[in-house]
Each structure stands twice: as structure tokens, then as C-alpha cells.
Amino acid sequence: MDKRFIIIHPFEVIRKGLWAILRETFHHEFILLPRVEALKDYSGLQQLHLLVFLSESLRTSENEKFIHHLLGAENKVQYLTIKHLADNLTADSIAIEQAATIIIDTVKCQLEQLKPQNNQFSDLSEREKDVLQLVALGHSNKEIAEKLFISIHTVISHRKNITEKLGIKSISGLTVYAILNKMIDTEHIDPTSLI
């Protein structure tokens, strides 16, 4: 899954400073914004891992709710707090008084947590489970898009992610997986007819 780094901080010097430090190590796209509301222009983002850097004053549950509402359904969002002082730092925060190498290490640690764990069913998102179930029942991408009210493009992205997470490429293989994990009602459908 592609990543985007979003840095939201009222001070330009901090936004640009952090960007300058991070872009040398992390070759992803960056979005620099002074206010959380400005994210509205990016409501079309989907299928991304978003690493959102928020200034301490902006890291409120209200703002998180706003971001979740805007981008949470189609993306995986993770937050990092930008503090001024390095006192009482948690694993998901950095401080502007820290050395660049330490800031980079913290971000790396956070990204590690974002990596999909390849072997657990629970790692499929609810949406991916919906898509997988319909794939197993033999529906085409177009049918799945219509049933779930999403675009065909999104269905294809979901399928790509499902295949990456599970390590199963063929439709019959995905069907076997869905049946093994009780995602299909095999009392009323003969499983072998689906494979």
C-alpha cells in the first residue's frame, strides 16, 4: 500500500523543516498544511497508508474524528504528534528539539507497525472481507462495485490488497480461503461448486 506523509502544523518553519528531514529517508509524497480543515481538498485519497503529523495543539479527539470521517473509510490512518519539548514523549510523538536521526527512527518504528501482518484473517479490513466474500461467490468486479456502492477501481484496489495480504492470487484459491474461514454459508451452498 502506498504511503503519504501529511504534516499539519501552524508554523511554516516546522512544516518545511520536518519535510526537509523526512524526505531524505522516506521517498513518499508529502502534504504540508497549516490547518486540519485544509485536508478537505484531499478527500479523494484512497487505498493509502496516511501518516499524519499533527502539532500538539491540533491533536484533539475532535480533529481525529474529523480526519477519520474524511479519510478513514478508504485509507489506513496513523498519527504522530509534533511536540516542542522531548519531555514525556510517547512512542507516537516526536519533538522539534530532537536530533533528525531520532525523529527518523521514531517514524520508522511507527511505519513498522503499519505493515500488514501477512498471516491473520483479522488483518483484512471489513471492506476487504466483504469484497473477498463476493469474489468467492463468483461475482465480477462490476457486480461487486454495484453491490457495495463503490467504484470498480476501488474493487480492484481491494482485490490487490487481499491478494497481497493473503498470498493467494487465483479466484479458486481465494474461494478456498473464504470457505476455510467460514465466510461462506456452506450449509446452503455446495463449496465444491464454487471452486
Binding site: N119, I168, K169, G173, V176, Y177, L180, I195
Partner: protein, 239 residues
Amino acid sequence: MNHYKPTDKLAKLIHTNHFLLPVINRFGFRLGFKDKTVEQVCQEQNIDLNFFLTIVNTYTDEDYFPQNELVSFSPVLLIDYLIKTHEYYRNYLFPEVERRLERLLSSCQGTCDDLQLIKSFYNKYKEELLKHLEEEEQNVFPYVLALLKAYENKQALPKKYANYSMKSTEPEHTNVDQKIYDLKNIVIKYLEPTYDDNDCNEFLFAIFQFEKDLLDHARIEDKILLIQVLEIENAIQHG
């Protein structure tokens, strides 16, 4: 990676890559070759040396791509070899995988629905692969042989092949390759182990070997046969 040479001993090939055992059998080589080199056994059995080396090197190194001068052997040899691999699948590998799968099933404790599902998946896969092999034997290989004959005798291609081309005729390998990988991966990652471990390992060993052989089969067709045939098609078109 070092590639095998004419002066290598045949025993060395097997010691370094025992998967080559069925491959050398397809050339009619049987064990007990003492210290004979590749060159010597090929001469004795009247096998084209470059052809043999191309096949064993392709089998051993996935990225091996033979130099032009080495692909001078006739596509007839390739087709003969590919048909022998088809026979090997039908007469040995399929029955062997099935024997091991049955044994695995009979070792299962409790409800064995999941393993039955694996068996259904395998059966569907086998059906598809057999169809693929048949398609090659009935359409692709006869087309290549007819093309070659027309080229060598400077004749026109028989009418029924007028609209044929290698690219449109050769069935895709991706799908069959994917499925055998999935089969293996589902057993390894997602199947509840309600069976005897050794029986399952035996089953997986057979699948691994099958997969390796199939991938090689596809490489030979895509990297060597296809190239040779495209050249002939080109020569005929512009001849």
C-alpha cells in the same frame, strides 16, 4: 551462477541439483554413468549437446537465457522434450500427488471438510492443467511442426493454419502457475493441522516438485520455443 558445461561430469549435475533426475531421464539417460561427462553421454545417446545443456541450465537457473548460437537446435527436439514432460505429469506426477493426498486424507482426525476442500481445489486444478496440456498437444505443437516444414521446404503453410500465430495460439501459463502456488500456500499458511505431519510433508514435497517442473516447462516454452517460432514466422512473412 555457474552454468553446466560440456566437460562437467553428469554425476556432478545430479549432486548439485537432484531435481534434474527426471529431466535426464527424459533424454534417456539412466543412472550408473560413472565418471562420464555431459559431452560423452550426449555423444553415446546421440543427443544434441547444446540442446541438453540449454535444458539443464534453464532448469537450474531461472534467469538463464541461452545465447543465440546455443538455440540453433531444431524446435522438433524441444517439442519432443515437452511432450515427454507432459507424459511425465500424466503418468507419474499426477498419480503420485494423488497417492500422497489420499494418504494425507486418511491420516486426518475428526472432521476433514477442510482437507476435502483442498482435494476439490486440486481436482479443479488438475482438470485445468490437463486442458492446457491437451491444447498444446493438439494445436500449438502441430502448428509449430507445420510451420517448420513449410519453412524448410519453402512451401506455403497448410490452409487451416492461415490465421494462426504462436502468440495467439499458446495458452497463458500464468493461471495454472498461480493455482499450484495457491494450493501450496493455503496448506502451509491456512489449513488447520488435523493430519499426520509426515503425510502432509510428503504431499507438499510432491507439490513443490510439480510446481518447479511446471515453471521450468513454461520458461522453456516462453523463452526458447516462442523465440524460435517467432523467428520462423518472421522469416516466412518477409521471405
